[in-house]
Symmetry: C2
Subunit: 347 residues, 2 copies
DNA sequence: TTGTACGCGTTATCAT
DNA sequence: ATGATAACGCGTACAA
């Protein structure tokens, strides 16, 4: 089977069809510049020849626009695909991107300039999901192309966020009953450690605007209001939000003495790990242990018992981000609402 | 804040640095063409100016190569992100793509030529995941660029598959006990209907090589060997593999009379829907109802009871596909092994 | 309505 | 080791 070494280009097909390159180009890009009849004839015949439209590189070089949108993920692509929250966000983004006939390029902020900077020149706009790891944000920001930040606030670009502190506080206030509650917190990545570990008193003094810290502050405020003590060593740091790793923290937390009767979890993945672990240990939820999560991933409503959590509308957040990027005049909630979803784990 | 209307280009920075464009280009692309010292000086100074590397459109126009790899999904991007199996596959693909410093563009085969064909000209290679919906495969195939097909076999390109029939048969043989078993099958998309529905006798006569049909054939063969009857109306078609839709089929199946005591499910999403439904109805698994799934998604080992299923190594499949694409000499299993994972739902 | 010609930013070849 | 220049495929202003 003879395989064409080189795809056809516009010049060649125009010659084959006996018209000028401008006419073929217009047939694809500016329908009003030629008769319907001719246009359809050209579209049909080029397709038969195996030419399906302008080459993206050349077109975008010429137009200064590619119709490609990039999502720059804080984590690796591989991890993001495994994370239900990131997956939901991408779901929302790709919805809107498809509606607008754009294409989706996935980048990662952790990747070094030398490996990715070329690719960064192609997209017409960028959605940064989560606080960027390397210096990708600075690089891209200097191109002057539109950027939407999500779940962090760079200060110099439109950002879509939730009120992490308030949402966490709301969840904790709902889960806590009174001063004899014994509470454990299982946090998202908060320390510079790749091992599950308890916090120490001095860990609590740092002031960060990372999500985990904001949520922790919300939990603390709730505890204060409910007159509940929460020592540093009842707060667990987890380096990554996976079922395997968070299960380690879950086990440590609910087997510590005195045994907690409330676990505040900064993600549903963590909370579900707690539920599984409690079940294995024969601890009844919610009778002996109340659990709240964060995110409201699909699995949260299907677990047994169903999980009380904070809905942060990840899909809608993705849609908002894409809309804001594609239409600067779009009405976009810069601070999206969260909602406490009361289910069985806190009844 | 003054925003550059136009990013710097190679020609401009070379002028600013007082060297030729070739030298700057070589600094980025061919380290051996200039002294280490000069190269580093150029890299440093261009970065300070805000130039981080060659423009992708121009570079790929010139080189005929973009370092972008496309995954062409059979479904919409949005759906694929919600599907655990597709997510695992993408995880594997992106692993290998990152290792090789390539970029990932996500396309969908259902999208019409006019909306996507331009983007299709950019990637250096394509991974088709699942039997393509529209004519994207034909279009791309004609470009002569490398293609890897996954979970279908186009005949004219390397394909990575599993033995769906054998795997399904193996699962069914394990779940079935003998001739007094009453079995229900819940199938993936098999009919041209967007509603959950039972099959009729004539539906069974069609001969397709779609995955659902291959697996169904495997189930049938197993039933025959075990002398188990399986009427057409005990086979359910589900249009999409989501928890919501499959739950409808699950309910219909396990409440039908006579009540089945074995349900063969063509996906874990379906099987998990069966488990939830059985639990709601107070039907004990595996005592009163044995269930097998297909895929071995992460949730399968965390459900209660844990799910017996066929592991099809989706992540590894993704890795294989990407490896096969990036290195034509790579040793790649064209027919990947599956493994029956015996867990609690069939004990 | 159609054709011609230039330039988009880069890389490779060929000189120097 | 470095500089000049043609060519990659296309879009559009302009001329016809």
């Amino acid at each position: 089977m003879p395989r064409r070494k080189k795809p056809l280009n516009l010049k060649e097909v125009s010659k084959l069809l006996g018209v000028s390159t401008a006419t073929v180009s217009n047939a694809f890009n500016r329908p009003d510049q030629l008769s319907k009849k001719l246009r359809e004839k050209i579209l049909k015949e080029t397709a038969e020849l195996g030419y399906f439209g302008p080459n993206l590189a050349a077109r975008s070089l010429r137009r200064g626009q590619s119709d490609v949108i990039a999502v720059v993920l804080a984590d690796t692509l591989s991890y993001s695909f495994s994370d239900p929250v990131a997956s939901q966000f991408l779901q929302g983004v790709s919805d809107v991107i498809a509606e607008n006939k754009k294409q989706l390029l996935l980048l990662s902020s952790g990747i070094s300039s030398t490996e990715q900077s070329s690719a960064e020149s192609l997209p017409d706009g960028f959605i940064f999901y989560g606080a960027p790891k390397g210096d990708a944000y600075q690089r891209i920001q200097r191109t002057g192309k539109p950027i939407i930040a999500v779940d962090f606030d760079p200060g110099n670009a439109p950002a879509i966020n939730i009120d992490n502190k308030e949402a966490a506080k709301k969840a904790a206030l709902h889960a806590l009953r009174g001063s004899d509650d014994r509470v454990a917190v299982i946090s998202l990545n908060l320390l510079d450690s790749d091992r599950v570990s308890r916090l120490t008193a001095e860990d609590l003094e740092i002031e960060l605007s990372v999500i985990a810290h904001l949520r922790l502050t919300g939990y603390m405020e709730a505890c204060k209001e409910k007159s509940v003590e929460i020592p540093a060593n009842m707060i667990w740091h987890t380096p990554v939000n996976t079922p395997e790793v968070t299960e380690i923290a879950a086990y440590e937390a609910i087997t510590s003495h005195p045994r907690p009767n409330v676990v505040l979890c900064m993600s549903d993945v963590i909370a579900l790990a707690v539920l599984r672990t409690a079940n294995k240990l024969g601890i009844n939820v919610p009778e002996d242990l109340r659990v709240v999560g964060f995110d409201d991933i699909p699995e949260a409503s299907r677990s047994k018992p169903t999980l009380t959590t904070v809905c942060q509308q990840s899909i809608e957040k993705g849609r908002m981000a894409a809309k804001a990027l594609l239409d600067p005049d779009a009405k976009v909630e810069k601070l999206m609402q969260t909602q406490l979803i009361e289910r069985e784990t806190t009844q």
